[in-house]
Amino acid sequence: NPGYDLSAGTYTADEAAQDGLRRITVADTAGMPAAFVRYGMQRGHFAAQGLSVDFKSSGGGTTVIPSLINGELDIAGSNVVSSMIAIDRGLPVKIIAPGTSAGVDASRDFSALLVTQGSPIRTVADLSGKRIAVNALQSVSDVIVAGLMARHGGDFASVTFVEMPFPDMLPAIERGNVDAGFLIEPFGTVGRSQGLREVVQPYAALQPGLQIGGYLAAAETVESEPEMVAAFKRAVRDTARDIARDPESFRAALPKISNLDAAMAARVRLNQWKPDNDRAGMESLAAIMLRIGYLKEPFDYRRAVVG
């Protein structure tokens, strides 16, 4: 298991040894997104595009963006909502490639809104006035909830979002510290197996196949190294297609390329990856964000996204 370490800190594929490859430094969130890049590396999709990837796992939007700007990272994964906020505030970064996406059908979506068995919450509209655990405020989860409530009824302003790490949500739901939790895999699976009830698969419910993640690069990099950016995009596209074609081998690889143990890897709902950016999805998210004040100006897709 070469290159593996506990902090999933750095991972350099064997191909780094080969000559003639462009070395790039990429970071992505620990867990499934990180597994995606490493799967692509394992399958040689990056090397095929002339890239040798030094992979780091990241600590989320607030730290990867400074790293992109100071040149420490070439490319970093983040979620589209945080990325759009950063771009809206004038940070010189651009979305260059799609990251994870919601499942096309709800049963294969990796997000889940969980409540206790006895909870009165049955639909999105029931969430009015309730406390929902999310892993980060001003991020994907609250935007998605806002979108769902706008569509299905309910008063978004009356919802209280409580920020906590995913693993802490399950006990918090069970003990009644929050009324519902907005989880992703593998915690959704864990929660369901522990008897929590799934109200909805929020990502897919808002829009099947909605793009959640995205790869960012500094505007300067996009400008000065278009070929590298294009090569990275192609590698992402090839990896996404590879996984879409044969999700089970990706699943089989999970215990090696992520921290999931084999039992869990066999059960989780897999994320989806799409070959291209989802302009419609991003624009609909942006509309919601503008409405609830997360964006200050209307989203300009052409300025924010490359390709």
Binding site: A86, R89, P165, P171, A172
Partner: protein, 284 residues
């Protein structure tokens, strides 16, 4: 004439403390206006943001709850830290038995302990107070423990020979003798307390300065974040100002015994206890 000089010197000392801060602020102000760096916005913008936010819109919603949680945690720490420090300082067996556990607990990072705190105390204020306690108790405990162990033997022997009971020895000898160390620990903890107040508000919060700073960071409102940081600094200044005043009163004897008071009580011993001086004093 001599009085005039003394007053002049006092005024000089008083003004002196503003020289460096003013210079730094001016320097940063000038630099930041020109720097055009996203992460270091112009000082004028930070100031405007600060005024918008903290005068006095969010005082009630964020500042007060934060301070209340922090001070509650700090108070618990002082009480527990001193009590445990005295206990462990006086009993070799207890000290030895608890040492590994304490050293272990001390090294646990607060952010990693938040899940555990939430398990124990839920997501409310109690878990945040717990996080503050978990971080601020150790400097007080360690200093008290070392202070208690460093008490001059002769003083304890004296009290023992006069058959002063153990509790009285504790309150009249051990604690006063250890008080310079206890204050050192409390001073250290004060800063840590503010830091942990912020850390504890990173998770499961709906208000507080830490929450505000974190959300500003999240949404890349950098000048708002700086405003929050400045507020934290100001809180630190204010609390330490109060702290030093209390300390000067309580540790006056120590300053005097250490020859650090320029104005010891006068020889005539006129009235009551000597008046506490209002400035921290060190020997030039």
């Amino acid at each position: 004439m001599k009085d005039g000089r003394v007053i002049g010197r006092r005024a000089g000392l008083f003004l002196l403390q503003f020289v460096v801060p003013v210079a730094l602020v001016a320097g940063f102000g000038l630099w930041s206006e020109r720097a055009d760096d996203f992460f270091f916005p112009p000082l004028s913008r930070i100031a405007a943001d600060f005024a918008d936010t903290w005068l006095f819109e969010r005082v009630g919603t964020d500042l007060v709850p934060s301070l209340a949680r922090m001070l509650a945690g700090y108070a618990i720490s002082v009480v527990c830290g001193v009590a445990l420090g005295v206990l462990f300082g006086m009993s070799r067996i207890l000290r030895t038995a608890t040492d590994p556990v304490i050293q272990f607990l001390r090294a646990l990072p607060a952010p990693a302990m938040i899940p555990f705190a939430m398990l124990l105390f839920g997501t409310g204020d109690a878990s945040k107070v717990f996080i503050v306690v978990l971080g601020t108790m150790w400097p007080i405990l360690l200093n008290t423990l070392d202070g208690v162990r460093g008490v001059e033997e002769q003083q304890l022997d004296m009290a023992r020979s006069f058959r002063v009971p153990a509790t009285a020895r504790l309150f009249h000898i051990t604690l006063p003798a250890a008080s310079p160390r206890i204050f050192a620990g409390m001073r250290t903890s004060l800063g840590i307390g503010i830091i942990l107040m912020v850390v504890s508000e990173m998770v499961a919060s709906r208000n507080g300065i830490g929450y505000f700073v974190l959300q500003s960071q999240r949404s890349f409102e950098i000048s708002a974040m700086w405003g929050g940081v400045i507020l934290l600094g100001l809180i630190g200044l204010a609390l330490s100002w109060v702290f030093v005043r209390v300390e000067n009163r309580v540790l006056r004897w120590h300053r005097g015994a250490r020859g650090l008071l320029p104005e010891p009580a006068t020889a005539s011993g006129r009235t009551g206890l000597p008046r506490p001086t209002t400035q921290e004093v060190t020997r030039a």
